[in-house]
Symmetry: C2
Subunit: 328 residues, 2 copies
Amino acid sequence: MGEGIRIGIVGYGNLGRGVERAIAQSPDMSLYGVFTRRDPAKVVCHDAGVRVIPLDDVLDHRGQVDVMILCGGSRDDLPVQGPQLAAGFTTVDSFDTHARIPEYFAAVDAAARASGQIALISIGWDPGLFSMNRLLGEAILPQGESYTFWGKGLSQGHSDALRHVAGVRAGVQYTIPSPEAIARVRAGELPQLSTREKHTRECYVVLDDGADSDAVREAIVTMPNYFADYDTTVHFISIEALQRDHAAMPHGGFVIRSGQTGDQTHQVVEFSLALDSNPEFTSSVLVAYARAAHRLRVKGESGARTVFDIAPGLLSPKDPADLRRELL
Amino acid sequence: MGEGIRIGIVGYGNLGRGVERAIAQSPDMSLYGVFTRRDPAKVVCHDAGVRVIPLDDVLDHRGQVDVMILCGGSRDDLPVQGPQLAAGFTTVDSFDTHARIPEYFAAVDAAARASGQIALISIGWDPGLFSMNRLLGEAILPQGESYTFWGKGLSQGHSDALRHVAGVRAGVQYTIPSPEAIARVRAGELPQLSTREKHTRECYVVLDDGADSDAVREAIVTMPNYFADYDTTVHFISIEALQRDHAAMPHGGFVIRSGQTGDQTHQVVEFSLALDSNPEFTSSVLVAYARAAHRLRVKGESGARTVFDIAPGLLSPKDPADLRRELL
């Protein structure tokens, strides 16, 4: 401990676990400890030697942690923790409620400016790397259209919605991008795609004992906001099959910019991810951006930042001359 | 003229032409003029109203041009023009001789620091956007391998080499990435790929009258550095077919990072381009980065920069709050 950039993890769910593993792959960083609201004695880290500290005591560790990576949820945890922790630490988080980003940015920015800290918000892949590619696409090809497709991947929000249907014991939902829609976009057709044309939804559901499968299917496929606007398929499986075949959290997607230069010359820029573990990948992005956050802090900058504000070179442990020689 | 960021174009070949068209798509920019070593009376721009100015007079236009986009070649033009023009202007160029980037950077950096200007070097897609994705891939997934595939695309260097073969009147060469190799990389196999396994080369050749096609084919496929290490196919066609079917300059390629997180979890990040015109796309990248160069200059920064040093937000004409609301 104490070597390189000292990272604190706030919250030890899937994301926190992933951050622990990603730090272990980063020789210029060390894990200071995990901060938790739970009883520290009951939090078992992947590396049993990791120090687990009550979140209530976090301010005692100021000056000993270079960057706090906030691994809580966007609905309840981050709106409180983001501004609070930015008042004492350089922070990185993955706040992902797109519609509330402006207000969250403002709250965290005010706290970070007041404390002289850097706070990197909404880091991950969407928001995050996908956002960066949406920006690059339209900045480089101003005449054109941008398309984002998600999946194939497990959607946490839609899986939660499934589980609230009467008669459902457990279940998961996969978002599947339409291969036909992607092919049309890649071909430079600039299609106007309806929600139904872009993605389909596939549900794997375990029924409660005695539940009526037809009624459950109907309740799912007609659910407003979540399923009604999509072609949704519902598969009924056993709890054993669910646990055996659907425990992973794959995800990914595509950001495609289809643009025209000169006299209607087609140009297509595409960024895609195929992730066997969504939380582990998001964690890896958080850790790379923690390096950038620390560097900005050392330079004396303060305030909130997003992926749009970070020069790519700040993410790499290599020095600029090596980057130019090896990767440019 | 004089509205927004005032751009000067140095050199009016394919790249300069593309920059002219890209500026016309950018409402926050205007074209100040084209600087040329040729007789200005003989340079006909796409927009006949564009001012064409002798390059020898370039210093008379200091203070009237915000950013000079250098559209000359990397072998002969830029090594001289890059440092020279950075002494008087904020510049952007597409220097693409990978092996000589460190010395070119040093020369341009010294000139730009001395003059208090910004000089963005090696902007385009490779070097450029591909380099950025190579950096992102290894920074986010430190455990893994990076792969760059080029094509399908017209290679200028290999087309030139073809034309120097005795008996060849004209010709073009396409670089074609191996679909099998890309599939193996995407599958997370981490293959070690030989040169021959990554790309094939396809040549369309017009013979001189009376030339021996077998001898020409043999001379091409055995040419060291250019073709000997690849599976090369040679097609003999008429001059009419060459002009009709092979006048476009398509290109593109793939940067793929295949990495592992946690316990050997596969994660694949991919960036790809499918370009119907390589020079028009490169020009569009140059113009977006000219916006960033101008902003850094206005902030008072100086010295040479590459894509690694530029925060994505600087490329967009939109203000940061709009970017966060619309694209994050």
